[in-house]
């Protein structure tokens, strides 16, 4: 009996030792509501089949405008390239858990580089018509085991203006599919339950190249560069960013602790590494690449966007890493930020310093373990196994192929 007691004590002591050993003083382990899943390896946990679409849906579009490779919507292109050479890809669609359709829907750019979403619904429709007629897998589930990457402003609502996007809603034929999108806002039409929110694309090499020595003291309290008023599209103000950015400017333009301005300096990345807090307010859409930049540069993100759903929200505990400020509390932003206890700030910085956190926000080429591609696959793997109810009985139809505005029904 004594021996069992000593044995138990032995194990308990070892347990305590192991817990202490895991805590690195410089970084902290990140565990979200799904667990410590940032370092999970999706290989072996799922199989993805990539449809072979004619190049007019992907390669030709890219050839027409190579700017699509470097703008913030480039995730769709890089995801396609990653999947083509990834070990999760299978050439046998019978054993696939997920099906991927490579459409570059966000590559129709204006001369200034902004994507026009007007043709995207038709393009997606035509692609789905193609895959539903050439392969039986779409009709089997009406797309419930298919996923699409739609990184545009409002995801699969395919419009840059929020009111129009809400009016359109998610494209009806994509209602059952899993959408991998950058847009995330709770209780919003354009966010389906079960969608995977991803960070926007930010060029990893550019950010890696502009790192400054880690012992450079962080002397800027709050940093922000960007527009406060969008005079072209919203001359009266109050519409852009729901008035939140304008409120930041009006309340804190005289405050020396807030380094905020519309001028974009050449030392933007270096300045972020010298700042403690980086503001990430909403713009026309709630998401922005600033979050990615803040995380990579170790600057605590101050997220001012009501009800936003941040990337990989089930794997990353954003509450513990960033500071969330309601839009109505913007006038009190300085009080809120200065009343955060220093230990909490140091803990947030330690969480940000964790390399797996930085890797999870980036889309490096070639892909590295733990990067955003793998987090997307992890998210898809966590949704497995598919429920039996998604498989339709023969002849059963749920989706309405003729729903939506008339313009969408035109062939592409």
């Amino acid at each position: 009996m004594r021996k069992w007691f000593w044995g138990f004590l032995f194990i308990a002591f070892g347990f305590v030792c192991s817990i202490a050993a895991e805590r690195n003083p410089r970084t902290e382990r990140i565990s979200g509501s799904a667990g410590d899943v940032l370092e999970d390896d999706p290989v072996g946990r799922l199989k993805v089949y990539v449809y072979e679409l004619p190049s007019k849906y992907n390669k030709k579009i890219l050839q027409k405008d190579p700017r699509c490779l470097s703008h913030m919507f480039a995730a769709e292109i890089y995801m396609h390239r990653f999947l083509l050479s990834s070990p999760v890809r299978t050439l046998n669609p019978e054993e696939a858990d997920w099906f991927y359709t490579p459409i570059y829907a966000t590559c129709d750019l204006t001369p200034t580089g902004l994507p026009l979403p007007f043709k995207s619904p038709r393009m997606v429709r035509s692609a789905i018509q193609l895959i539903s007629s050439s392969w039986p897998y779409w009709n089997r589930t009406e797309g419930a085991d298919h996923f699409f990457v739609v990184p545009h402003d409002f995801g699969a609502c395919f419009h840059y203006q929020e009111e129009k996007a809400i009016e359109r809603g998610i494209l009806p034929i994509l209602q059952r599919a899993t959408l991998v999108q950058t847009f995330g806002q709770r209780n919003h039409v354009c966010l389906n339950e079960g969608s995977i929110t991803i960070p926007p694309y930010a060029p990893p090499q550019k950010m890696q190249a502009r790192q400054i020595p880690l012992d450079t003291p962080r002397s800027i309290f709050v940093y922000f560069r960007g527009l406060f008023y969008d005079v072209n599209n919203d001359p009266e103000g109050g519409y852009y960013a729901r008035g939140a950015r304008a409120a930041v400017w009006e309340n804190f333009k005289n405050n020396p602790l807030f380094d905020i301005s519309t001028e974009h300096p050449t030392t933007y990345y270096e300045d972020m590494q010298r700042a403690i807090f980086c503001l990430c307010p909403l713009g026309w859409a709630p998401w922005s690449p600033r979050l990615v930049e803040a995380v990579v540069f170790g600057c605590i993100p101050v997220i001012i966007a009501d009800d936003i759903v941040l990337p990989f929200a089930d794997a990353i505990p954003w509450e513990e890493i960033g500071v969330f400020v309601a839009e109505e509390d913007v006038p009190k932003l300085d009080t809120i930020l200065t009343s955060i206890p220093p230990e909490v700030i140091l803990r947030k910085q330690r969480l940000l310093a964790n390399p797996s956190m930085k890797r999870a926000m980036l889309f490096p080429q070639p892909a590295l373990p733990g990067d955003a591609f793998h987090q997307i696959l992890n998210g898809l793997a966590r949704k497995l196994p598919h429920q039996k109810s998604i498989y339709l009985k023969p002849g059963e139809k749920i989706l309405n192929w003729t729903a939506g505005p008339v313009g969408d029904l035109k062939p592409w």
């Binding site: 347990f15 050993a21 390896d41 008035g243 020396p256 109505e328 700030i345």
Partner: protein
């Protein structure tokens, strides 16, 4: 499939946790490695077995029981938002989670709180910084920077012992305050040895007492002579005196020489922490030349002296000490200052003391790990011109500051005229007896001028004239 997936994820996690405990194992002492590793293996095997039996990750449960709750819960999520999330999750509203109050029970799941459209721009009534919050923010910044220094800065910083020779003169307060403020900003432990020619004076003592630093103030019994040559020699003697004090007190750290008129950068103090025994840094020499025409004429053939001459170690391509950059005095031959208040250029010596740093263990009498090339300071016959006189073999000097490429401090000598006088401690006491309003006063309704019964004012712009016989007026030219 479920079990195999579990196994897979477990194997993945096992490699992770070995990865994280790996470096710790290697860093810990070799003798303690086996018990910890055994603990871990046994524990791990047991957890594996239990999880297999139970069908879920056993360690999750234990972490939940043992985890420390975070002390800072986010106050930013209002109860309505929490209610919203609960609303969409519970499909059957009959059994809601009871621990969060639902203040708006009639809102449906699809009703978003966020409305698209024009919103007001909220501006608070006084959109200016609150001083209390500004101070809090500065404290936060300080704390973050201290943490950064702890993590990424110099590991195990050593105490810095600063040696400053000084004497009371007009610009004494100016120079000493400058050095004092630089030293007050140094984030490491500091001891300041101030050696004063002419004996300890109250002026110096009151100045350095304001610093809050640990100071050792000694007097040197000779008065400072009036020529630069003699002054340099006396300063060398004073510095040796300070080194003897260090030896007597067995102070441990790094000695640096901060002349009172020099300008130091903060990176200097970080860089000298890297010295092992004897180091040298590059000193920028700021010689001022009074005659600008001469400078313009000299520019054409001035390829040897760079715009700002630098004294210090010179390295070869493989970053080893190859020689010394010294100051080229030839262009100044015959035109340099001889006496302290000359208007001509003041030249530095070949190698200034301030460009060298020493480990105090070199000075101790019986230190077992002292290298052989250091001379004992008691055995010196005569004075030394620069700390290189203390070493037998100058090639052992370590070049600091990126092998001498970074200039970390600047040398300049600026002194006032010999006959210039100044109020003691720069306090005008007792107050002046007569003040004469200046004609250019901005106040229109000033009273008419008082009948002036004083000697004519010597300072032309000065409206205040000193009249007390005890006070000597400052002559301006």
């Amino acid at each position: 499939m479920k079990l195999s997936a579990l196994q897979q994820s477990y194997l993945g996690r096992r490699s992770n946790s070995f990865r994280s405990s790996g470096p710790l194992d290697s860093s810990s002492d070799g003798a303690f490695k086996s018990p910890a590793a055994v603990f871990w293996l046994v524990l791990h095997g047991l957890s594996c077995l239990i999880s297999l039996l139970l069908g879920f990750r056993f360690s999750r449960l234990v972490f939940l029981l043992l985890s420390t709750s975070s002390t800072y819960t986010s106050p930013f999520h209002s109860p309505t938002e929490l209610a919203k999330t609960l609303d969409i999750r519970s499909v059957i509203p009959a059994d809601p989670v009871g621990n969060v109050p639902l203040p708006f029970p009639n809102k449906t799941a699809t009703n978003s709180r966020v409305v698209v459209g024009r919103h007001g721009i909220r501006i608070r009534p006084w959109p200016h910084p609150n001083p209390v919050e500004v101070m809090k923010a500065h404290r936060i910044i300080e704390r973050v920077q201290t943490e950064q220094r702890l993590q990424f800065g110099v590991k195990d910083p050593r105490k810095i012992i600063v040696v400053t020779p000084t004497y009371v003169r007009t610009f004494h307060a100016l120079h000493l305050t400058g050095v004092m403020h630089s030293l007050m900003l140094v984030p490491y432990d500091l001891v300041w040895i101030v050696v004063e020619a002419g004996g300890v004076s109250n002026e110096t003592a009151s100045l350095i007492a304001k610093s809050g630093l640990k100071t050792i103030h000694v007097g040197f019994n000779q008065r400072m002579p009036n020529s630069w040559e003699e002054r340099h020699k006396l300063e060398s003697k004073m510095r040796l005196r300070a080194l003897r004090i260090i030896r007597e007190k067995k102070l441990d750290g790094i000695v640096m020489f901060a002349d009172d008129s020099n300008m130091h950068s903060m990176e200097l103090f970080d860089e000298i922490q890297n010295v092992k025994w004897f180091g040298a840094v590059s000193v920028g020499i700021l010689t001022h030349s009074v005659n600008t025409d001469e400078m313009a004429g000299r520019k054409k053939d001035e390829e040897e002296n760079p715009r700002m001459p630098v004294q210090g170690p010179a390295c070869n391509a493989s970053d080893m000490l190859a020689g010394w950059h010294t100051f080229n005095t030839l262009p100044f031959a015959g035109k340099s200052a001889v006496y302290i208040d000359d208007r001509a250029t003041v030249l530095p010596r070949k190698l200034e003391w301030s460009g060298f740093v020493l480990n105090t263990r070199l000075l101790w009498k019986d230190s077992s790990d002292k290298p052989k090339w250091i001379k004992d300071i008691d055995m010196l016959n005569g004075d030394i011109e620069s700390p290189l006189g203390l070493v037998n073999d100058p090639s052992v000097v370590e070049p600091l500051g990126n092998c001498g490429r970074q200039v970390l401090l600047w040398w300049i000598r600026v002194e006032a005229r010999a006959d210039s006088k100044f109020p003691p401690r720069w306090i005008i006491d007792p107050p002046l007896e007569i003040t004469v309003p200046s004609k250019r006063t901005p106040w229109r309704d000033a009273p008419p001028e008082l009948p002036a019964n004083e000697k004519p004012a010597m300072g032309i712009q000065d409206p205040i004239v000193k009249h007390s016989p005890k006070r000597a007026s400052r002559s301006k030219h």
